[in-house]
Symmetry: C2
Subunit: 688 residues, 2 copies
């Protein structure tokens, strides 16, 4: 941090040596009344400004209120063609039109241009006005054009937010909620595919789109349609930001119609992670700074450095997010905060928020950190909370997510008219639409093919088409594009991104239901009885996990060490840790862990039974079913103890066997079509 200041200091010093004349024309306004009047004038200006700010925010609140009422109306009438986000955008558009063409607030002509010599723009400026000092803070750079034009619409400037508002205030709740509400069961089952789509897929998409756009931009340059610089790095940047999908509309419909859980998991998991990847990828691309004169040529070192930035920022954010989640879990485990729901909820909220601030303070990416914090909180901390706190935290973040999301989408609509530096270029726009489409295709289809080589439960082609169709763009893409609109290239990208978002949300979002029926994707699937129709039409249970070995490793680690460490679940650490750590294990194990031999059951409990689970469960009752649905009971007393049997149990998929016989969901063997007498036999075989 110090060296950066030194560098700028060197530059400034050399300039200063040659330029060190402070011009002091200070005119005395001798009359005291003038000075008092000035005070009043300044105070009144501040007051006016405050009133104006309140009025602006009020516009947004009214927009949101209107959106809520309309959403209710739509839900009431089961109108599924326009989801909340699409609706919010429409209302934003309408208000934008009104503000742009309906209202004119003349610009304050008292804004004075000082052409004073400074050789760098300091963060704070002290201006001497006849003996009084006023402090000014740097808001940002504005282009010469903006000043020269007769800017007579102050209103538009006022309703324009600082883009950092999105990253600091609006996106974190949305991303945290996405992590906190991840349906972990299905997520982990499809973990390999999700990671592939999110990482590899986003990078592929970024480069494909970047290359295609570069072609487009080169073409535009040839025919003289390009109004400014547009480098390859800009194209890559566009590729990165437009690769972040946000299928919130589609997922809402999936949820409502109860579409296949694997499809839901793939889409949701991919969108959540690819937001994180897109943010860091775009930062890495921006960080690409080769030495030498031309900052836009290819240089291997700079590329390696960018890649390093990507890795560093991503893992740093990931680590911070997990660390805070772990800390919250420990605090809620070892204190009796559960007795005070308000305190517990407040603590949870503060610690989650602190993740964001900590990541930002350390130079990482806050939104990525809160994502992983959310996932960690959902996986560990949630189990430690009291039932009231569980509800409260869920509801709190659900509300924040709802408000932030609709706010962003309203703002998107508004900004089509209030942003004063749009650059709409038909060729670029068409090129962008094509590139986005092809980029998505290059992401989904090849990867699905590769993944299907390893998956038992193939991702069918209609799923692939659906995923292709459901690649909506939304909040993250918008926020990334609006973050910096200084250059011509960035402005063109921003304007085009807006159109891409509008199109995908309205058209693709609105056409989801049709697409579902067109692709013959089943709806009304009970997530607890997951019989998926394979490509051969035979019903089989959703089965073994993709990267079974990877998942097994993770599962064992999580089950035997992490969960007992961070929650009250068993098996107790005293059993799983080596003897040398006995004292530590006793210290860290909570009393309940000794009782909870099986893992705590929560809404999205892990889907694998282990030995302990099997023994306890089978210690109570086993109910098997044959293909005709008849139930038989047996009380086997042998426990599956070796890994083959464990494998077979795992292969049997999820068991929702809950102690005390409240509900039993029956496993069916998935390796071959079930035959009438087989199941019972196989089960007995498994347990002998």
């Amino acid at each position: 941090m110090g060296s950066r200041w030194k560098n700028s200091g060197n530059c400034c010093a050399s300039g200063m040596l040659s330029l060190c004349v402070l011009v002091s024309l200070s005119i005395c306004l001798s009359r005291a009344e003038d000075s008092a009047m000035e005070n009043i004038v300044t105070e009144k200006k501040a007051e006016e400004s405050h009133r104006q700010d309140s009025a602006d925010l009020l516009i947004f609140i009214m927009l949101l209120t209107l959106t809520i009422l309309t959403i209710w109306l739509f839900k009431h009438r089961r109108f599924r063609f326009l989801h909340e986000t699409g609706l919010a955008m429409i209302y934003g558009l309408l208000v934008g039109v009104v503000l742009r063409y309906g209202i004119h607030v003349p610009r304050d002509m008292n804004n004075i241009t000082l052409s004073c010599h400074v050789n760098a723009s300091p963060a704070t400026l002290l201006v001497n006005v006849s003996g009084k000092f006023y402090e000014y803070t740097l808001k940002g750079e504005i282009s010469g054009k903006e000043i020269d034009d007769v800017q007579d619409n102050e209103m538009l400037r006022k309703v324009t937010f600082d883009p950092e508002v999105f990253f600091n205030i609006l996106l974190p709740p949305i991303i945290f909620h996405a992590g906190y509400s991840l349906k972990r069961r299905h997520f982990f089952r499809n973990m390999g595919s999700i990671l592939a789509y999110a990482f590899l897929g986003t990078v592929i998409s970024c480069f494909i789109i970047g290359l295609l756009m570069y072609g487009c931009v080169t073409l535009m340059k040839q025919i003289g349609q390009l109004g400014g610089d547009f480098f390859f790095t800009d194209c890559l940047f566009f590729g990165a930001i437009v690769s972040a999908t946000d299928p919130v509309t589609v997922l809402a419909i999936f949820n409502e119609l109860q579409v296949d859980v694997d499809l839901y998991a793939l889409l949701f998991g991919e969108s959540v992670l690819n937001d994180a990847v897109a943010v860091v990828l775009s930062s890495s691309i921006v960080a690409y700074q080769p030495q030498g004169d031309n900052t836009h040529t290819f240089e291997a070192m700079a590329m390696v450095k960018s890649f390093g930035v990507f890795l560093g920022v991503f893992s740093g954010s990931f680590a911070l997010g997990m660390a805070t989640g772990v800390m919250t879990a420990l605090v809620t485990k070892f204190t009796k905060l559960r007795d005070f729901s308000l305190l517990e909820t407040a603590l949870f909220f503060l610690m989650s928020w602190s993740t964001f601030l900590l990541a930002e303070a350390c130079g990482f990416t806050g939104v990525v950190a809160v994502l992983f914090c959310g996932i960690t909180q959902a996986h560990y901390t949630y189990n430690n909370l009291s039932p009231e706190s569980q509800d409260r935290t869920k509801q709190l973040f659900e509300l924040l997510n709802f408000l932030a999301e609709n706010f962003i989408f309203s703002y998107m609509g508004l900004t089509l008219f209030t942003f004063q530096n749009h650059v709409f270029n038909p060729i670029f726009i068409i090129g962008a639409f094509l590139a986005t489409f092809l980029g998505r295709a290059a992401n989904i289809y090849p990867l699905s093919f590769l993944l299907n080589l390893g998956r038992r439960n193939k991702i069918s082609s209609n799923f692939q088409h659906m995923m292709m169709f459901a690649g909506l763009r939304g909040a993250m893409t918008f926020a990334l594009s609006i973050r910096d609109t200084a250059t011509y290239a960035r402005r063109m990208m921003f304007s085009t991104t807006l159109l891409v978002v509008f199109f995908t949300v309205w058209v693709c979002g609105g056409g989801t239901t049709q697409m579902l029926s067109c692709q013959r994707i089943r709806v009304g699937v009970d997530p607890d009885q997951e019989h998926s129709i394979g490509p051969d039409g035979i019903e089989r249970r959703s089965t073994k996990h993709e990267s079974a070995w990877l998942f097994r490793i993770w599962y064992n680690f999580d089950h035997n060490y992490m969960k007992p460490f961070l929650t009250h679940s068993g098996p107790p650490l005293t059993a799983t840790l080596p003897a040398c750590c006995g004292a530590l294990a006793r210290c860290l194990t909570s009393p309940q862990a000794y009782e909870n031999e099986e893992q705590l059951r929560d809404d999205d409990s892990d889907l694998i039974l282990n030995d302990g689970d099997i023994s306890l469960t089978y210690g109570d009752i086993t109910v098997s079913t044959d293909a005709s649905g008849a139930h038989t009971s047996s009380r086997p007393s042998v426990v599956a103890a070796n890994s083959d049997e464990l494998d077979r149990e795992l292969a049997l998929g999820e068991h929702e066997l809950v102690i005390r016989g409240t509900r039993l969901v029956l496993p069916m063997d998935d390796s071959e079509p079930p035959l009438p007498g087989d199941v019972l036999h196989r089960r007995s075989g498994a347990l002998s």
Copy 2:
């Protein structure tokens, strides 16, 4: 709005004519790299600044987290001597010490002073840096001294918030929650007294303190201890801000120990309203601007104008708050939003927030508006919400209140060390403590005496002593004092206010339990069976309301018109409105109103039974008790139908008679000590 600009324009124009030389020394930095380097330097500065801001906010989050954990520890061990707010202050102090003496961040020496000629400080400044334009916004005025001193602690400046943060972000949730959680039953019962204390009492306190402080300040001037101007208006301002009580600590203890509900109601109601009064009073005092040279002489017109400002702002804010509350009630009544708890909660939140913004945009006081909005929402809208939404909204505002309050109190502690312009003057401080004490006494005792002339349920002297003792100062006083610390007088007031708050919160707050036992105030009172011990030691039911006639008018209006209009309760408007409004009445009456002849019962239902209530209630079962506690049943069939009997029923106080016989609380006649055989007889007599 336009005229204000014109006025300043005139002043500026005359100045401008004589001063219109724009100094343009623009030095070209010809090398492109420098320009690019400048961009990077600017970007890096912005990034650094952002990281610093995140780190600062993180400090506060950590403070709050620590506070929460300690609060839990205290609750766990039932440690009542230090309440959360006092604790938050202590932690703030500790961090303040560390920041002040432990950490040194040298001030950025690149801050440049421009002595450029402007004759007024514009809101926005455009600075020309070798061809690039940078926009600066006015942050505020700083004194010459601050610049001259070697300000080497940048850290302290960074953790200092813009005072408007308190009024715009932190206070609204606190005040709204106070209004929303007002125990209306007890509030309305003591409404007259509460209004007296809040309005008259605050004004009395303000003037007494103002006068005493003026004496103190004059004395200081005589002995040469006064370092700057301190006018009478400043003294009055101090009186106003220090009259705002905030007995949050005391009330928490009252709640926990279940102290007498009337005492609770008086204290809570007074504190909630006198915050509102203090805000508007202080604004009116600041608005006192006589014409002529000396702005601090007495001028009747200016005084009348100030009074007008007080009335105008208060009623305007009141009206706005109520209007938004009414609108929310109507929306929740006439839509089926109850089916969607998230939507309903979001709407509720947005509309409550919009109250604040609307009031601020119209030039009224946002916090006063949200107070009355909260009360209205609790009285009407709450009844329309679904049970889930009722819980959600309560919990949401409870959480926001908790976080905001502890934040403010932490900041108070911090600011003792981080504020760089303290003015501690022992004489002023001692004077302030004395004046505050005497001001409170002048508020409580005379008013109680006068009120007791009219009240049946006298405010006993031990109650008065308790109220005297419980006059803690807190968030509102602090926020009002920190709002403007430009002048010497304001700084001295701020520093002194801090000490007053510290003292009252720690000493008075900590001594509450002792004071309660010292004053022999009963604890463990079941709010449903309210037998208060009168001064003569005889147990009597809490009785007729203070301004019975005032209350009766309000009650009838509310019961017959407002509640049926805004909620689903009966009697239906078609019955109560005149025939000419039949169509309107039918339109506004909801179907449930025809069924709900009695008022909806909610947690804090109104305490008056009306004819309808009595008939239904007594239609089921009546259980009476005699002094020995024996229960007898009877089924009277005559309904009290005339106003005398209604009076007597009212005199019988609260009836917690719930339909369906789930719980019956028995009224006892309060006009004389209960005699064994009397009660049953009297009851029958009342109903015959």
